[in-house]
Symmetry: C2
Subunit: 341 residues, 2 copies
Amino acid sequence: MTFVFGMDGGASKSVSIVADTKGNVLSRVESGPSNYHNIGKEKAKEAIEHAVQRAIEASRTKIAEFEVACLGLAGMDSQTSYNVLYGIISDIKVFRKVMLLNDAEIGLGGATGCRHGIVVNAGTGAVAFGMNQRGEKGRSGGWGYLIGDEGSAYDVSRRALMAAAKAHDGRGEPTLLLPMIMEALSLGQFEQIIELLYHKEMSPEALASLAPVVFEAAQKRDKVSQEILECAGEELGLVAIAVARALGMESEECEVAPIGGMFRPHTLLYKSFARVLRKHAPDCRLIKPIFEPAVGAVLLALKEAGVEFTDLLMERIGQSLKGRVTTCGLKNGSIPCNSIL
Amino acid sequence: MTFVFGMDGGASKSVSIVADTKGNVLSRVESGPSNYHNIGKEKAKEAIEHAVQRAIEASRTKIAEFEVACLGLAGMDSQTSYNVLYGIISDIKVFRKVMLLNDAEIGLGGATGCRHGIVVNAGTGAVAFGMNQRGEKGRSGGWGYLIGDEGSAYDVSRRALMAAAKAHDGRGEPTLLLPMIMEALSLGQFEQIIELLYHKEMSPEALASLAPVVFEAAQKRDKVSQEILECAGEELGLVAIAVARALGMESEECEVAPIGGMFRPHTLLYKSFARVLRKHAPDCRLIKPIFEPAVGAVLLALKEAGVEFTDLLMERIGQSLKGRVTTCGLKNGSIPCNSIL
């Protein structure tokens, strides 16, 4: 029997899956972050090796080698990062063949079951990735928290802090964000935010964790928060549309899968995201992802191993995953983007 | 003879001045940065001690003690930072009495010759500080590069990088900023910006040094750059207005001094800044600063030492500074803010 390994290596956690080439998922384990941009090369290597070992152990199978390993890693965004990560991975001897992809690409693989379409991933960061019927690929966004990731949890949190600072100064409108952020961060005075941000060096992930406060304030009809979320939704719509245009998909029936923690249903963010799609790509359909990104990595590894994609194979993957995955639905419910508005 | 010491401790350099209580400036030296937020406590202490020593040497005077030392330090923005900096300064034994102020406050002292008014300082960061006729003080902005400093060189540079990334993705309008930034940073491909920003850890100061590129692109009629500068000017207008409102100065004749590298005359930034002032505080007048901030520190130290502010004193300071200061005019040319438009 031959095996494949799929991994979704993120900034806050990693998910690893071992499957055989018949589509039986043998294990799924979660482990620590593996984004080398944040934790460095050495720790990233350790994190990946640790994840592989745990996934093999959990599979209760004697695996000496994986036919194909597909790793979708956050931070795989340039030739330089590819070279760095390839150096890390080539030291791991259990992989016969390695595919190193950006995490957005495995996101698309999982969301659509390896079909063409566009995935928009909005978590701590934000990026869109697409593939058209001709197999051409494109991406947009994902330039990181300093100069991009518009619409991400980091971006929304940062805008919320700016709005709170402006309200504090009397420069901006009063907003619930000021007291709510102070409470969330246990600040007696808002000025203490400076100590927290610049001295205690709050990580981008820690800062991004303020996003739920913005959703909560918006629900309480805070106008400033509502505007931040609407703006974030528009930005996420724009990253999707940029990919659709680059791949000639904006005027065809195209599936768009929003994934990541920022796409909570029924929020202003979700609605303004859908509004931008409807305006610029009216024939696209918003889909609920079939599988989580780590399964996308497994599917891409199976494809690379020459395994034929039959209904039976997909069903077997879905069945053997049951009870292991909680984040995604297993049914592909496709809806036109304007039905949300 | 008794002496005072004034210092403008910034993020990129520091300026120290020694004067006697008759208003004779005995020395003016420039030295390295002293913002403890950036370089740490130990180095900040060393930097201040070094500056004091050099200023004494350059004065060619035997000075065992300063009657008053007034230090205006970037990063003096909360009780915590006051306590940290007070700990540093109290170890320096040549100061009989120490005044520790935010650098914006000495900026106002220098710009107006210790009179009431508002100073807006837009360099790497951006902050406004004001004092009304009743001696009440207020500030706005200056929350640092992560959540504030709107209108600063950092903010403008960051927006330029975001616009370049959007143009690269096809999300945003084409802009000259993309090729011009690539040239300024010697990037063969724009994707290399990720390596530069996140791995080589470009400092906020280094990132802020892209601001001149934006001014240049705007002069070449690049629409995206023009919008960034107009928006920056508006933000700087808002920090000034917030201070004016807080101090009840928006409906009285009030002098506003724009200082720092972002206020180049005849630019869109300057014009949109003046436009906001005219709209919200029509009786304010834009002034050219009389003295640089380090002289403001000296003036505040002299005031604290009980020295009377006569025309003779001010003239003596101006005369004895000649040839030492190049950054500011010595004449106070006041103009109504709407004459700029």
